[in-house]
Structures are given as structure tokens and as C-alpha cells.
Subunit: 197 residues, 2 copies
């Protein structure tokens, strides 16, 4: 229906998460019909980001810098290290606003079936930071899934073997959550992890 190049653009826009055929069409029309300047800026910014954004040498989060702004900040507590699966997890924790240590981003979790082993998650790099009294506490914030738990256990064992204190963030009923809407697995975990009042 559209010309070949416009069809290519609609197809390329569909790679975006949450964008179906209708939204992709609407986006293509908007970019070409209403805002060519924004479209050109998006194209060049995306091209630059694809070329230049890599991983922080210290924490592996996404950045175009060698060492990210968190790792190089003197205002953060460098004795606390929080392990997360993705850069989006860093953002979520930063937005909560009460953690002031550093992060280590795995970019995934251990998954032997997909061929994802310790080296793919940077666990060799992480291990080098365990022996030298740099880290007072390692806080593991991988997802409460089977793979996330297995990854947490693996990292915890390695850290404890080097004398590092390890903790896991709490899982249970969300604050403000209503019991009747919480899934059974979460509820079972909340009961098993109950604390004495």
C-alpha cells in the first residue's frame, strides 16, 4: 500500500517494544508528515547510541563513558555493591531513592540451557572485587524467578567464600498491595519469610 521505503520504515518501527502494525503506521506517518526534524534527530541519535554506548568498565551498566557517573561519584557509598540483572533495575532502585551504594549489572541471569554462564554475566570481573576488602556488603537484587534465585545463590557462595557479607533484598506482599490480588507463589514466600513482631 505504501511505497517500499515507507513500508521498510513501518517494519523497522515494529522492532520497538509495544508497537504493533497500527502504531508503527501511525508513527511513520507522524515522522514523515508532521515532524521531519524530530525524525532526523531520532535517526542520528539512535545511530550514535548504537555505535557508542557500551558498558561501564566497573559495573557493566550501559554508558558511552569508560566508567559511569555512579561508579565515579564520590557521593556514593563505595563499600555497598548491589547486583541487578538489567540497567532498568538500576533505574528502578535509583528512583526509589534510598540506596546510595554502587551497582553491578549482570545483563541477564545464569541459564545453562541458553548457554549463559558465569563469564557472560561478568562474574569473573565481579569476583576480582571480593578479595580486597573493598566491599563491606554485597546486596543481591536479582529477580525472584527460578533463574534469578539460582544466580543469587551462585554469587552468594562465591562472595561468602571470600569473606564478603551477602544479603538478598526482601520479597513478599508489596506495600499497599491487597492480599486477594497477590499470586500464590508470592503469598507462600511471604508466609515462609515471616518475621517475629
Amino acid at each position: 500500500m505504501f511505497s517500499p521505503l515507507i513500508e521498510d520504515l513501518i517494519r523497522a518501527l515494529r522492532c520497538l517494544p509495544g508497537v504493533g502494525p497500527k502504531s508503527a503506521q501511525r508513527m511513520a506517518m507522524y515522522l514523515l508528515e508532521k515532524d521531519r526534524d524530530a525524525a532526523g534527530l531520532l535517526a542520528s541519535t539512535l545511530q550514535q547510541a548504537v555505535e557508542k554506548v557500551g558498558r561501564c568498565n566497573r559495573c557493566r551498566t550501559l554508558t558511552e563513558q569508560d566508567v559511569c557517573s555512579l561508579c565515579s561519584s564520590t557521593r556514593r557509598d563505595h563499600s555497598l555493591l548491589c547486583v541487578v540483572e538489567t540497567p532498568a533495575d538500576v533505574l528502578a532502585i535509583e528512583q526509589a531513592g534510598n540506596y546510595h551504594g554502587l551497582y553491578f549489572v549482570l545483563h541477564g541471569h545464569l541459564s545453562p540451557i541458553d548457554g549463559v554462564g558465569p563469564a557472560d554475566l561478568g562474574l569473573d570481573v565481579l569476583g576480582e572485587r571480593f578479595g580486597n576488602d573493598e566491599i563491606a556488603e554485597l546486596i543481591i537484587a536479582t529477580n525472584p524467578t527460578v533463574e534469578g534465585e539460582a544466580t543469587a545463590q551462585f554469587i552468594a557462595e562465591r562472595a561468602r567464600a571470600k569473606g564478603v557479607s551477602v544479603s538478598r533484598i526482601a520479597h513478599g506482599v508489596p506495600i499497599g498491595g491487597e492480599l486477594e490480588y497477590i499470586d500464590g507463589g508470592t503469598l507462600a514466600h511471604a508466609f515462609n519469610s515471616r518475621t517475629v513482631l
Copy 2:
């Protein structure tokens, strides 16, 4: 929170219609974390489209060709010309599937307050096609808004003055629509435009 280039990318993604700050973040993370190839393809396709997509010399729809595939098709009825406001309107009518003539895309409507006059809508180009017996019927499908109606009247007068038959698509209660949910303006129009059974 993110590095400058990633913040730039999130800001650039927000130019897309229907994309707020949260979705833009999610899109940026997805493109950089999960699918760099798709991101690179989107960047280069968008860049090409911005550079190469212009307007069809005949109907002014968006295309990278000199004359679009509809205008150059021998399977369309070249004696019918349907005037629409946007390329998206062409798509909507094509998807309905029962019109087989050609189109003329205004890319807007007359709006003296915004400085949009007849020349901006290509009405001089359209007018050149009126005198030469090329068009048996001009079907005006501008939107049923104040500006769309004024534009329709303006075009209709010019066409009739050159002896071209002019029609306007019908407006009223949508097929399958329930009266109680139709707005008052549409309902009033439907009563005024009632036909004898």
C-alpha cells in the same frame, strides 16, 4: 540518571506519538540491551526515509518515487479523483477496499488563521486537472470538521466552475454504531441528511 547519550536517545524517542517518558525509557533499554541490529536498521531506515521520501508529483501522497504506485497503476479508474486531507486517509479508504479511483492528498485543510491557503494544499496543481475532461467525478473526503467542510466547499466551487461533477462522502451514524453513543453533532447531521425510503 542514564549517561548523556542514553538520555538524548530517550528524549528523541519521546517525539513518537503515544510515547511517554516510561515507554521511551523502555524502548531505549530494549534497543541498546536486546536488539542492537534492529536499532541500527531502524536508525538507517529512518535516516533514508527522512532524506528520500517526498510527495508524488500527481497526487502529493508520501512516496520516494516521482509518481506513486497508485497514480501509475493501469488497474485504477483514472476518471475518479478522491480528495483527502492526509496519506493516512488514503490508507483507510484503500483498506475499506471498494474505491478504485485515484487520490489527491491536501496534507491539511484551509486554515487562514494558521496561514494555510489554497497553494499550500496544492489546489493550484489540482485545478490544472479540472479543465481537460480527465476527471469524471471529484469525490471530496475531507474531514467533517469546520475546516474540512470549508475546504470541501472551496474545492467544490472551483471544480464545478470548470464543469467537473463533485460529490461529498456521506456522514452520519456509523454502521453498527448505537444511537445512544453517537455525539449530538453527528446525530443532528444524520437527521438533516436523511433519505426517503
